[in-house]
């Protein structure tokens, strides 16, 4: 289980995260929602160990979270890959870096789950569609079987139909693999549809945390109601007639 306790992060003298507490069990999804500058990506950087907490701690099963080697899926699929390498070499980098063996049939099984033909991996990032590049990014994140996967706006570069398709594939793979997923998104519709819990950040602090259905139907704070209503206004969520 991922546990974040009373986390504060400073950048220079500015506090960018304050009093963040959350727990995320294996196999579950926490969607972290908030507007630009709310601290969503800072939270991911802190969990990855790229930013040192000013206060509090971040653990996975009682040990520092970094030791669990959490994986990251980035926002811009093509920019997340070395443009000079084919996708296969980039996808295998976690295996090489961690010095672990690739289980027999794992690459093929993950590719099947992501609906990616194996020969697609022989192409460079600029030779595949943006949706295929993002699925390759998910493949790279999962290849070394991490217990925790962090997704930083994983769908925002994709079109509406590809977003729903990719989100379904992520959920199906999570059910098979059992990893905990922390998904940062500004899309409340995605968060509600695929999250077990929703945590809303505002100006570096937790505005509200709730299970997804409760949040969608009865957000408690005025800000969260505004977020929910904006998602309806933009068509991400639809209110039943």
């Amino acid at each position: 289980m991922l546990k974040v306790t009373d986390l504060a992060v400073k950048r220079g003298s500015r506090v960018t995260l304050e009093s963040i507490t959350l727990s995320l069990p294996a196999g579950e999804t926490l969607a972290v929602v908030g507007e630009s500058g709310a601290g969503k990506s800072t939270l991911i950087a802190a969990i990855l160990g790229l930013l040192k907490p000013a206060e509090g701690e971040i653990t996975w099963n009682g040990k520092p979270a970094r030791a669990a080697r959490p994986a990251l899926v980035m926002q811009e699929p093509r920019a997340a890959f070395n443009p000079a390498l084919n996708l296969r070499r980039s996808v295998m980098e976690p295996i090489v870096a961690q010095g672990v063996a690739l289980a027999a049939g794992r690459l093929e099984r993950l590719c099947a789950g992501l609906e990616m033909p194996l020969d697609l991996l022989d192409r460079r990032p600029d030779q595949v569609s943006i949706g295929q590049a993002q699925r390759a990014g998910i493949l790279r994140a999962l290849i070394a079987a991490p217990p925790l996967v962090l997704f930083d706006e994983p769908l925002s570069a994709l079109d509406a139909v590809t977003q729903k398709h990719t989100a379904r594939l992520i959920s199906e793979l999570q059910a098979e693999e059992g990893f905990a997923a922390l998904i940062v998104t500004h899309d409340l519709g995605y968060a509600v549809a695929h999250g077990d819990q929703i945590m809303v950040l505002k100006a570096g602090r937790v505005e509200e945390t709730a299970d997804a259905n409760t949040f969608a139907l009865t957000p408690q704070s005025p800000y969260c109601r505004t977020l929910r209503d904006a998602a309806i206004s933009l068509g991400a969520l639809e209110a039943a007639a």
């Binding site: 590809t162 509600v192 904006a230 206004s233 991400a236 639809e238």
Partner: protein, 227 residues
């Protein structure tokens, strides 16, 4: 009056990215031009704007990001004067107070450069510039995708309210049928450089005829909330 274009097409690197397309756009209408990435929506939008301007119509364009419309080294006042000049209007003659009030940016400091304004305010400023002189048509190309949802929703609400009762027609270009469905009365669906389906919004939502329209309709939102 109806805006008409015929036989619009485009070829890039020997590949046809827009097959010959003809359109009739009545004034006051709100149309959604929808399709997946790479389907040719923006190409048709640009071709349409060029053709109608060549016919002498006033057509405004709002790009996806205000970064594409605003020079970071120039003040907002400069941009406003440029827009007036481009339309042949004397400086200060556009109804700035009315447009700024409608889009709720009346508190913006025009002496500042774009980065002195929030992105939401920048995008509403771009929309206000586009509406100077009540154009025959305003084309909005993914106007909310660079904005946070709360700001995006407010911007679309303000624009819809402003256009109510005006002659200006609107084309909203988006990959997101859920966004378009709440804002337009007609839809045009593009796939692989062709206009494959057009019709009333509710008809395409309920009875899509083509594969492309069916995919967009099926995936138009993440979920339906029970009441």
């Amino acid at each position: 009056m109806t805006l008409s274009v015929s036989g619009l097409s485009a070829v890039r690197s020997g590949r046809t990215i827009l097959h010959p397309t003809s359109l009739e756009i009545p004034l006051q209408i709100r149309i959604g031009l929808v399709g997946s990435s790479g389907s040719g929506k923006s190409t048709l939008g640009h071709a349409l704007i060029d053709d109608l301007r060549a016919q002498g119509h006033t057509v405004a364009h709002v790009p996806q990001s205000p970064d594409e419309a605003l020079d970071p080294l120039r003040s907002m006042a400069f941009h406003w004067r440029e827009a007036e000049t481009a339309l042949g209007l004397p400086p200060g003659s556009a109804d700035q107070a009315g447009l700024f009030g409608a889009l709720k940016i009346e508190g913006g400091d025009l002496s500042k450069r774009p980065w002195g304004w929030s992105r939401g305010m920048q995008q509403r400023f771009v929309i206000a510039m586009a509406l100077i002189g009540n154009p025959d048509l305003i084309v909005l190309d993914e106007p909310t995708s660079a904005l946070d949802p709360v700001v995006a929703a407010a911007t679309m609400e303000l624009l819809s309210a402003f256009l109510t009762g005006k002659d200006t027609a609107m084309i909203l270009i988006t990959h997101d049928l859920g966004l378009a469905a709440r804002r337009v009365e007609r839809l045009m669906v593009m796939d692989a450089g062709r206009l494959v389906e057009t019709g009333r919004t509710e008809d395409i939502l309920e009875r899509p005829k083509t594969r492309a329209a069916n995919a967009l309709s099926t995936h138009r939102n993440w979920m339906v909330l029970p009441c």
